[in-house]
Amino acid sequence: MHRTLALLVVGVSLAFGVDWFLGEFIEEYVVRIINLCGIAIILAVSLNVINGLCGQFSLGHAGFMAIGAYVSAYFTTTLRVLNTETGETIVRAPLFDGAWGFVPALLVGGAAAAAAGLIVGVPTLRLKGDYLAIATLGFGEIVIILLTNFDSVGAARGLPGLPNYASSFWILTFAWICVVGSVFLQRSTFGRALIAIRENELAAEVMGIRVARLKVMAFIYGAFFAGIAGGLLGHLLRTISPSTFGFMKSIEVVVMLVLGGLGSLTGAIVGAIVLTVLPEALRDVEQQAKLPGIRMVVYALVLILMMIFRPQGIFGQRELSLKLLRRVLPARLRGGDSETKP
């Protein structure tokens, strides 16, 4: 418990420091990419719990994001009314007022996505592999179609004018919480049980592991953070529309996982960063080489080469840790007995 609090304080102060640094010294374009990286990390790490640890191949992550984004946007925008006489905004629910009101709005968005995770998780319990992938894909599409057809949420136009709340501070703080939480989950009796389900479901059942309950739990956990990420993305882009959260968004997150190594948390982080930075970096190359469109070719090529030469992903199922570094580094570079307890 003390450790958790300490880690939270460290994370928040780090986020605060980095936020200040970025604001002072780094150009806006780069800050934006860093922010998108933070959101991608939340998405990839949370999907890793469902797809990587528990082995339930889900393609519905964008659906959970959409729910989180729309619900949090409801609380940050719709609850605000402009008083036409004085020109002031009035907030109907004071909890959601100002920049600090963003956190409860995000959490409500996350909770709504988590509830959707429960709703998706329970009926799809009997499905495995491709069938589950298709069912979750269907869920994502249902969300998009509903959003496109309800006028109250702007239909296909979406919701414009979201307040500019998703600062680097909040993005990094939530990325930190998501990563630390997932590490804690992975290294617990529940994490081992999830991996047991992935490795051999029948054996897990015979060990008395409540397979159904844990699968649903993984879905809820993953959906919660996807909702948070959706809320953050919405308030970063400041306009959300159903097309933001289409099928390709889910695929993008899955590709991040596969690139990093399905089941590896550090792999998910690296995959998220690479796939966010790569298209932007290639944009420069595109301009230099005067070859518009080459960006997507290279992007696809990288993925194809990856599948040919390292299908298990950059990290496989391993984690990037001091232990692994020590093993990979040549002997003379290795320290003496700097054994640290994890």
């Binding site: 958790t4 804690f184 989950l185 081992r192 047991a196 992935r198 029948l202 054996a203 008395g208 397979v211």
Partner: protein
């Protein structure tokens, strides 16, 4: 001695095939019970019905006086029956110690938030599982390999790890499905000593399926012989060895 597990007229059909036909088992607490029979006799199918993997077509399974046929494998496991598999089913990506720890998971009295917030209850639970798992690895002679990924274990050790994992669930009854398959003579001798110690030192009743006659005759006190799903003999090893029906089933008759 009280009856721990009892099956009555246990029958299962797959399409037109009656894999197990009216099988009656009666295992008392503290038994070392052998279930043998030629290939395809239905031994593993009986195990699958006992542990909830298959639902019997008719008949019943009673464990500690409670009807368990039709319950899910998870429920059966939590009532105190554990098992190993003929084709080893370990959690390959987990370490040897973690494999054994998953067995102890079902007794965890913490919830997800304890682990996410790292409360003292979480640490206590981790310690409990680790200590219990380590004890059982020592018992099975695997403690030196505790940190190794399970997929790197040699074959004989994989079988032993499965037993350690099953024991970590703190079962009243452990069902071993051909634990000696593929082992050499030396490993088999070690294994039979271990199986006896499971009963004697840990107080767990053992139900054993095995093809190796020497091993079964050496350690089991009661043996039941199945052939084509039917029980053809039941008794102590000496009687079984001289039973003409058993000899016929194994060697073939006219």
């Amino acid at each position: 001695m009280s009856v721990l597990l009892e099956t009555e007229l246990l029958t299962i059909c797959f399409g037109g095939l009656t894999a197990v036909d009216q099988c009656c088992l009666s295992i008392e607490e503290g038994d070392l019970y052998g279930l043998i029979g030629p290939n395809g006799a239905g031994k593993t199918t009986v195990f699958n019905m006992l542990t909830g993997v298959y639902v019997p077509t008719s008949g019943s399974v009673k464990f500690r006086g409670r009807l368990i046929s039709g319950r899910s494998p998870v429920e059966v496991a939590r009532l105190g029956i554990s098992r190993t598999f003929q084709n080893i089913r370990l959690f390959d990506e987990l370490s040897v110690l973690e494999n054994a720890m998953t067995g102890a998971h079902q007794h965890a009295k913490i919830n997800l938030f304890d682990s996410l917030l790292r409360t003292s209850r979480h640490y206590r639970e981790e310690r409990r599982q680790r200590e219990r798992a380590y004890e059982l690895l020592q018992f099975m002679g695997l403690e030196e390999r505790a940190g190794l990924p399970a997929k790197q274990l040699p074959y004989g050790h994989r079988r032993r790890l499965e037993i350690a994992r099953a024991l970590a669930t703190e079962p009243r009854l452990i069902c071993l499905d051909e634990p000696a398959a593929g082992m050499n003579t030396g490993e088999k001798a070690e294994l039979s000593a271990l199986i006896r110690r499971i009963r004697d030192e840990l107080g767990v009743t053992v139900l054993l399926i095995e093809h190796d006659m020497k091993l079964v005759m050496g350690i089991c006190e009661k043996i039941q012989v199945l052939d084509y799903g039917k029980t053809i003999a039941l008794g102590p090893p000496k009687e079984i060895q001289n039973n003409p029906k058993v000899i016929e089933a194994y060697l073939g008759g006219d």
